[in-house]
């Protein structure tokens, strides 16, 4: 009876596959993105830690110190956005010199590729502001709240006077460092001494104030709270590092062959009878890791190459009397084939490294040559549109031009303007002009030629501009009109 209806509406039932049980929905979601747990990095001492502190001091001496350097009558380095001039020691750059900024960015990117190919994430471990400020903030944290275990214990306890003052002092110091960082940052764009006076008199412009606090707040947030999250979830470099890595790149590696099977043991126990590797499974390498990974699981994108685990493992190996280097800074090939340091170093010069070095040197060279050959003045010629050409006394023909002459140096300069390209062509207005330092002037220039110099129409001519007080010569082409 129902045959007709079922025939018209053919239903294909959806049934679960045999033996399949769907996973609980929440589990799938959560397993993809583990909830963030606060990391309490334990402080560490050793070779790599010393290097990192050296770099912290060096980079911050440069960053905090440079704006205070003087060059002649002005700040040595200031990117003065208000007047659109970049002063870098003796060099003054203008918006027209944008190509050099591009050059610097390309050089930075290529240097990063080169360093990464040779020695992994050197930038991340030692020079990245994220690492450097985190290191400074961690140091303050340790001074105020103690090391990892003390911090963890205190955080688990309810609020007390002791906890309150320690936390407040920490945040106060963090804010002070952050604010100073923001102030220094703005000091690269506005003369810092003036800025300091304005800051003390509370008369900073609202924009300067805004950027000081914005940059300061970013430092406080990134180094105090976000920390490894920035490296893990925000930094694109970590994601494409594998494009620059190969098997001869120096990375932080765990010697699995030697370390496994890991396990705790008594100090007096004989290793040969225990069926255990050299790893005592003390978990210190995990505790010191600023990104909270276990290096024994192999190279992971979260590893910033800081070497904290190498330092701590070496101290443990010393304590238990095993040779150092269970976790070490070496290449994948060297670890697998047991190369000596000299053998490893021999593999540094390989095609990838040579190509990066070649391109980098070529661009650096091009930039240096171009900078040293750059003329220190600029000229732009525009024909005066109002006056095409006219006849003046003695039947001479006159054309009017507008010359924009820009003096890119920091001293007043005189320029001599001459014309050529047609017989008898001569300047009718002043030929020597004076332009103040880093200024541009628009000059109305009259050029005359004898009557019948050429057929009616337009003829090519050129302006020759010579700098009288410093070497430099420019030729600018234009057109001379002869009326009918």
């Amino acid at each position: 009876m129902n045959n007709q209806t079922t025939g018209a509406k053919k239903i294909i039932p959806i049934v679960p596959q045999e033996g399949y049980t769907p996973p609980p929905a929440d589990e799938v979601l959560v397993s993809l993105y583990a909830a963030h747990e606060k990391i309490y990095p334990r402080s560490v001492t050793g070779l790599f830690s010393n290097w990192r502190w050296g770099m912290v001091v060096l980079t911050q001496l440069i960053f905090y110190g440079l704006p205070w350097l003087e060059w002649g009558q002005r700040q040595a380095i200031v990117f003065d956005l208000g007047v659109r001039r970049f002063y870098i020691f003796g060099l003054v750059l203008y918006p027209q010199d944008f190509i050099y900024l591009t050059g610097i960015l390309v050089i930075s990117a290529l240097s990063l590729f080169l360093f990464t190919a040779v020695a992994g994430r050197l930038w991340c471990g030692y020079a990245c502001p994220q690492t450097v400020y985190t290191e400074i903030f961690l140091w303050i944290e340790k001074k105020m709240e103690g090391d990892r275990s003390a911090r963890m214990r205190r955080d688990a306890k309810p609020l007390s006077i002791d906890k309150l003052w320690r936390k407040s002092a920490k945040h106060f110091l963090w804010l002070a460092v952050a604010l100073w960082t923001g102030f220094t940052f703005v000091g690269y764009f506005t003369p810092i001494k003036e800025l300091g006076r304005e800051f003390l008199q509370m008369s900073m412009s609202s924009w300067e104030m805004f950027w000081t606090f914005f940059y300061g707040f970013a430092t406080y947030g990134n180094a105090g709270f976000m920390r490894e999250q920035v490296c893990k979830h925000m930094c694109p470099y970590a994601r494409f590092q594998s494009a620059m890595f190969d098997k001869d790149t120096l990375i932080v590696t765990y010697d699995e062959k030697r370390g496994e099977p890991r396990g705790a043991r008594s100090k007096k126990a004989d290793l040969s009878t225990l069926n255990l590797g050299a790893c005592v499974d003390c978990s210190l390498c995990v505790q010191v890791c600023p990104t909270g990974i276990d290096i024994r699981k192999g190279l992971q994108y979260e590893c910033i190459g800081c070497g904290a685990c190498v330092d701590v493992c070496d101290t443990v190996m010393d304590k238990v009397g095993y040779p150092r280097g269970l976790v070490k800074y070496t290449t994948e090939n060297a670890m697998k084939q047991g190369w000596t340091q000299a053998q490893t170093m021999r593999h540094v010069l390989r095609p990838r490294v040579l190509v990066y070095t070649g391109i980098l040197s070529a661009i650096v060279l091009a930039m240096v040559v171009s900078l040293s050959m750059r003329t220190l003045f600029k000229v732009n010629v525009v024909r005066d549109r109002g006056v095409m050409a006219r006849e003046v006394e003695d039947g001479k023909i006159e054309n009017v031009y507008r010359l924009q002459v820009m003096n890119a140096t920091e001293a007043t300069q005189r320029y001599k303007i001459t014309v050529g390209g047609l017989p008898g062509l001569a300047m009718a207005s002043e030929t020597i002009v004076t332009i103040a330092s880093t200024e541009a002037r628009v000059l109305a220039v009259r050029v005359q030629a004898p009557a019948n110099v050429a057929t009616p129409g337009s003829h090519p001519m050129q302006f020759e501009i010579d700098s009288l007080d410093s070497p430099g010569h420019l030729t600018e082409k234009s057109i001379f009109m002869v009326p009918r």
């Binding site: 929440d26 918006p95 805004f210």
Partner: protein, 92 residues
Amino acid sequence: MLARKMMWIAWPAFMMAGVLEMVVFALVDPQNLHWFGQPLALSREGIYTLAFFVFWIITMASSALTTLLAMSPFEVNHCPMSPGDRPNGCSK
């Protein structure tokens, strides 16, 4: 998860806004800018700052769309909240 998505949206956009700022203001002097025929009554610093945030908001919108489109069908169809927090009618 939300915080992580915010980071994916804000940070790449921030970097690109910085690049835009450099490229645009290498070519354009803020003092030559006009708004409905009138010169802008703002200092160069003011225009740099405001322009940076305009760039950042726009590039963030782009990142946000990418984040939205990069979600797998599973994530789109699935209620992102844990069972206890789900509003009525959200049974997935």
